[in-house]
Chain length 223, copies 2
DNA sequence: ATACATATTTAGGCTTGTCTAAAAATATAT
DNA sequence: ATATATTTTTAGACAAGCCTAAATATGTAT
């Protein structure tokens, strides 16, 4: 019934939706799933027929409630198992993902909830990503405007306060996406612009206006 | 590569081999796997080509070393997970099997060995069945001759000391198989015969000679 | 607006593991 | 020893997921 392949697709679509806000493209899914676009098309038809997604040919994909529920449950399981592997079995950061990728497909509601309890109802996984509770609700994380960060602080982009078409276009052009990690390298008082490093890579200067409109949360990620 | 279906077949064959000593029949496997005999035949051909089993048409099946290794690893995982579910997540007896049936197919050597350590290297699972160690060796269990049991004691048949063709035939005819559970109901001194109840069902009178040749181990199973 | 490039879908095939129905081998009973 | 019953295998099909190659849409640049 609930094939783990379908779950993987729904999870991928969920993850990608969070970043692109419009429909998710076939090729984006293909890249993430490490498969061919034609295979994705096949699967999208199936998921659409089963009521998991909204799919219109050539138009990309959005999740239906039902699909989102499945994705969130899988993410919950994945992240709880990661906590288990790290805190109970002493796995290191780089070892947990691969195994959790398998464990996330075990189907037993009782197992997940018992594990959650056993682990002490953790709110975030070892990467700092939030773990949805048994009702699928994510723990609210502290939201801060980028301009309020101090030099040297690290954060993750979690939202935009002004979402005009142009602004989003702009963000996309400079590769600032939801989930992007950033570090404040310098703040210039005279015009309130900020220099940041994105995802440990290139450095970008952001204007006062932009900084005001970016919501971030502190990145507790130790890595 | 290592499809979980193949693992399930090898495990089934392993379990059935332990009881029948001769080759395992297609229909026995089909029954255990809850599938059709024709499907089993297909799979046996594949497993044979891959060197997991010895398969001769119409003659039944035995495991090759390679197949036995796979089966034992799966059994090790299954039983360790059962311990985990019982002792750490407070699952009850009847709930563990189904979930362990899924968990046993997770492929990560490090996971299994870490779990083993985390659980304190248990020697038996919650059903009292032995857990092979990481080298595939089963913990040696205390072997006793049936005639040395006292009235009221319970045991499991683990071997025969005399394995003539007729003796094995006899055991099969009275449904005394390896793994059969028995309880000593009465012992008759005058001819050293023993009355036992088999698998909680029918009662059988065993002669002195038979008792001397049956190896059992005490049944610590609380059920 | 047209031509080119890119993204997406379709068509047809492959593998794994399953099934049913029919054929072949083995086992059993007289 | 022969007929009957049972077990096992073969043949042919199907669904899920994947692939390659070709066709079709969409996007972009002039």
């Amino acid at each position: 019934m609930n094939s783990s392949t379908e779950e993987d697709y729904l999870k991928a679509i969920y993850m990608l939706s969070a970043q692109h806000s419009s429909g998710v493209s076939t090729s984006a899914i293909a890249e993430r799933m490490e498969t061919k676009a034609s295979s994705v098309t096949d699967m999208l038809k199936k998921l659409s027929e089963k009521g998991f997604i909204n799919y219109v040919k050539y138009q990309g994909v959005t999740l239906q409630q039902k699909g989102s529920d499945v994705a969130i449950k899988v993410i919950r399981k994945h992240r709880l198992w990661e906590v288990f592997l790290c805190t109970k079995l002493n796995f290191t950061w780089d070892e947990i993902h691969e195994v959790a990728e398998q464990l996330e497909h075990i189907t037993s509601v009782k197992l997940v909830d018992s594990l959650d309890q056993f682990l002490g109802y953790p709110k975030v996984d070892p990467h700092g990503d939030p773990i949805p509770d048994k009702n699928g609700n994510f723990h609210k994380i502290k939201e801060v405007a980028l301009r309020d960060l101090k030099v040297g602080e690290k954060a993750v982009l979690i939202g935009v306060r002004e979402d005009s078409r142009e602004f989003l276009k702009y963000l996309e052009s400079i590769k600032l996406l939801l989930g992007s990690k950033m570090e404040v390298l310098n703040k210039f008082e005279f015009d309130e612009s900020v220099l940041i490093k994105v995802n440990g890579g290139n450095e970008i200067m952001l204007s006062s206006l932009v900084c005001k409109n970016l919501s971030v949360t502190y990145d507790k990620n130790k890595k």
